[in-house]
Subunit: 204 residues, 2 copies
Amino acid sequence: MAEGEPDVVPDDGLTTRQRRHRPLLMINTGEGKGKSTAAFGTAMRGWNQGWSIAVFQFVKSAKWRVGEQAVLETLGQLHNETGQGGDVEWHRMGAGWSWSRKKGTEDDHAAQASEGWQEIKRRLAAEAHDLYVLDEFTYPITWGWIEVDEVISALTNRPGHQHVIITGRGAHPALLDVADLVTEMTMIKHPFQSGQKGQRGIEW
Amino acid sequence: MAEGEPDVVPDDGLTTRQRRHRPLLMINTGEGKGKSTAAFGTAMRGWNQGWSIAVFQFVKSAKWRVGEQAVLETLGQLHNETGQGGDVEWHRMGAGWSWSRKKGTEDDHAAQASEGWQEIKRRLAAEAHDLYVLDEFTYPITWGWIEVDEVISALTNRPGHQHVIITGRGAHPALLDVADLVTEMTMIKHPFQSGQKGQRGIEW
C-alpha cells in the first residue's frame, strides 16, 4: 500500500478527518533495542508540533535515558523561553516521583509505581497533555503492581485527544488488544553478544 | 543478563575500554514502524554527548521526517549559539543534495543516490562526523543504485571512531553480516489497517 493510505475504509460513521485525528494508544514491545528510543523520537516530533509532552519513567535506574531526558528538557526550556514547540515534563520513579513530597525507599517500588499510575490517571482525566510516554510501563503491570484492567479502562475511556505510548518487554496481551499501533522490536544481533559493553551516546 | 554486561569476554586482545569505545555499525530494519524514529532518537542522544551528527535522507519525499529534521536542526542551532551538545547537518535527496550546485530532476534518483553515497565516503575518510544516520539507505542498495560491496568496504574500513546507523526495509544480508547491532521492527498492529490515515506528529 502507499504510505499513509488505509487498507480499508471502515464503516464506523467517522469522517476521514475524525479518523485522522483519533488519539492513538501505541505500544513498543519486544526483546530488541529501540523501544524507548523510538518513543522519545515520537515525543521529539510531537514537541515540534507544539504538543504538551509528559514522560513517566517506570524504572529504578535513571542512567539509561539521561540523554533523551537532557534533550527533551532542553527542548522544553526552549519552549518556555521562545514559545517554539511544546512544553515538556519528565518524571521518573526513583526516590519518589518529582511531584511527591514523600521520598521513597528502595523497598516500595510497588507503591511508587502505583502512585505514578494514579497521577497519570488524574492527568488523563484532566486532559493535561497531548502525548504521554509511559516508559517501561509494561513491567509494573507484569509484576502485578498495577492492575491491567484498570489501565485498560483508564486508557480506553480517556477523554479528548491524548496520545499514549507504552514501552517495555512483554506487554500484556489484553493491552495489545486495545492498542491502535503495536511494534515489536526484535534483536537480531547485538554487540553485547560479542563482548562489547554499553557505551555513552549509544546506550544512554 | 544484566543490562550493559556482555555475555562473553572475547579473546580479541582488546581491553574493555577499547571494546567499549568501538565504533558501531547499526541497522534498523523490518516492516514495522520506528526504524527511522529510533535512529533519530539515537542522534538526539548523541547530540547531548556533543557529537557531530550528519543525517543523509535517501528518500524522495521529505514529508515524513519534517519533525525530526526541525528538532535536530533546532538542536544544531542551539549548539552554534551556546555550545551545548554537538553540531548537526541534515541532508536530503530531493532536487539534488544540499551541498551540490546542480539541481536534480525526478528522473535521476539513481545518480543522486550515488552522489550522496560518494559524499558519505569522502566524509568517512575525512572522519568528519561522530554519527552518520543513513536514512532509508537500504533502498538504493536494493535497487542496484549503490553497490553493496562498495558500501561494506567503505564501512568496515572506516577510520577513527565513527558510528553509522542505516535504516530501511530489506537490509541486504551481506550488510547485516558486517553490522554490530541489528534490530528488526515488526508491525504487529497498525491503525492504517483499520482505516486510519497518517496524522501529524505521529507520522511526520
